[in-house]
């Protein structure tokens, strides 16, 4: 009985050590900005990285038939073209903060996973809107 618990404690400690020294160390910098990425491009070549920034206005192209989403990721200084295969997440739009996981190749950043940030501000839609109006709006947008 006691040995069983000790094994459990060891497993937890091992997992913690892994998270702290392996996972967390790498994750302290969760994503790179386009500027940081372009500065050290050689270092990140052929390595999976996360890039974070804003979707540049007017650059989003989505090919519904081939499921190819193209846009430009910007941090206001540098820009990186992104190609992501798959449908854009529901809250993806121009000007939105996103994090793309992937690697650079053939002149574009090939995203394998697209994560969309959202703001910490919560506001209801314009005054006088009923939940039904909003539901309709959300459904129309799909």
């Amino acid at each position: 009985m006691k040995a069983k618990y000790l094994v459990g404690v060891l497993v937890i400690l091992g997992a913690l050590a892994y998270m702290i020294f392996g996972g967390l160390g790498r994750n302290l910098v969760y994503f790179l900005t386009p500027s940081e990425y372009l500065q050290d491009q050689a270092k990140y070549q052929n390595r999976p990285v996360r890039l974070g920034g804003l979707v540049k206005e007017g650059t989003v192209q989505y090919d519904k038939d081939r499921l190819e989403l193209r846009f430009v990721l910007t941090d206001g200084v540098a820009e990186v073209p992104v190609l992501h295969r798959g449908t854009p997440p529901g809250m993806f739009k121009e000007g939105q903060g996103v994090v793309v996981e992937g690697r650079f190749g053939e002149g574009v950043f090939q995203g394998s996973n697209l994560l969309v940030k959202h703001s910490e501000t919560y506001q209801p839609p314009k005054e006088g809107w009923t939940p039904e109006d909003v539901r309709k709006l959300i459904e129309e947008a799909k």
């Binding site: 006691k2 618990y5 000790l6 459990g8 404690v9 937890i12 400690l13 997992a15 913690l16 998270m19 702290i20 996972g23 967390l24 994750n27 302290l28 910098v29 969760y30 994503f31 974070g52 997440p89 529901g90 809250m91 994090v99 996973n113 697209l114 994560l115 969309v116 940030k117 959202h118 703001s119 910490e120 501000t121 919560y122 506001q123 209801p124 839609p125 939940p131 909003v134 539901r135 959300i138």
Partner: protein
């Protein structure tokens, strides 16, 4: 909270906290479900009314464990240890709720259930530390050594709470920063949403107080049986 003799039944306060909490729970749910949708997230933002009180009560519970672990080490009274234990256990329930609702919220908004970003990583570590707290308690047979070792984990483990809370500010994260920011006092939320959130926070606090008292009583009865 600390009585000289252990009663067999929950006292009036325990019943009052639990009764009021359970009574107001449907009202909190009603307020959450009638709060307006968010302009960007629509109805998804309503998971907030479970997610945020869950996380806050988890933090609070681990703080109470920290406090009573300190008290135990100074006063060497097992009653303090029982409150520390009770609060850690209820804290795990609330933190678990925050993690699960967070994952359900993340999938439709961020696009994934889980990612190793700072807030999620530090909270996962926090959760694991308090799971370890109970594994440790189970591994030590000598009651006094068990209480002392648990108090050490209860005190040292608490360091993860401010780290988890501040992680969204200290590091680049996917998780948004606090909507009710305790470090600056700013609130980024419409009043009718804030009302629903604060009401649910009140309900969760009542339930927390009731459950901790109940759990500490159960621990006292267990201890009595262990001694006998």
């Amino acid at each position: 909270m600390l009585k000289a003799t252990v009663s067999d039944r929950p006292d009036l306060f325990t019943w009052a906290f639990l009764g009021l909490g359970l009574l107001l729970l449907p009202l909190g749910l009603y307020l959450a479900l009638s709060a307006p949708p968010d302009v960007n997230q629509g109805y998804l933002a309503r998971i907030m009314y479970l997610h945020v009180p869950g996380a806050w009560l988890g933090y609070l519970a681990f703080f109470v464990t920290f406090l009573y672990s300190l008290l135990y080490l100074f006063r060497q009274d097992p009653r303090y240890d029982r409150v520390a234990l009770a609060s850690a256990e209820i804290g795990l329930v609330f933190m678990g709720l925050a993690l699960v609702t967070g994952m359900l919220w993340a999938r439709p908004t961020w696009g994934v259930y889980w990612t190793w970003e700072p807030r999620l990583t530090t909270t996962a570590i926090l959760f694991a530390v308090y799971v370890g707290y109970f594994l440790l308690r189970g591994a030590i047979e000598d009651p006094e050594l068990r209480r002392k070792a648990a108090a050490a984990v209860g005190i040292l483990g608490f360091i993860n709470v401010p780290i988890s809370y501040m992680s969204v500010k200290w590091w680049r994260s996917l998780h948004q920063t606090q909507s009710i920011d305790l470090t600056t006092g700013k609130i980024h939320m419409a009043p009718e949403m804030l009302q629903a959130l604060l009401f649910n926070l009140l309900v969760f606090t009542l339930l927390y107080l009731g459950f901790v008292r109940l759990r500490a009583l159960v621990a006292a009865l267990e201890a009595r049986k262990e001694e006998a």
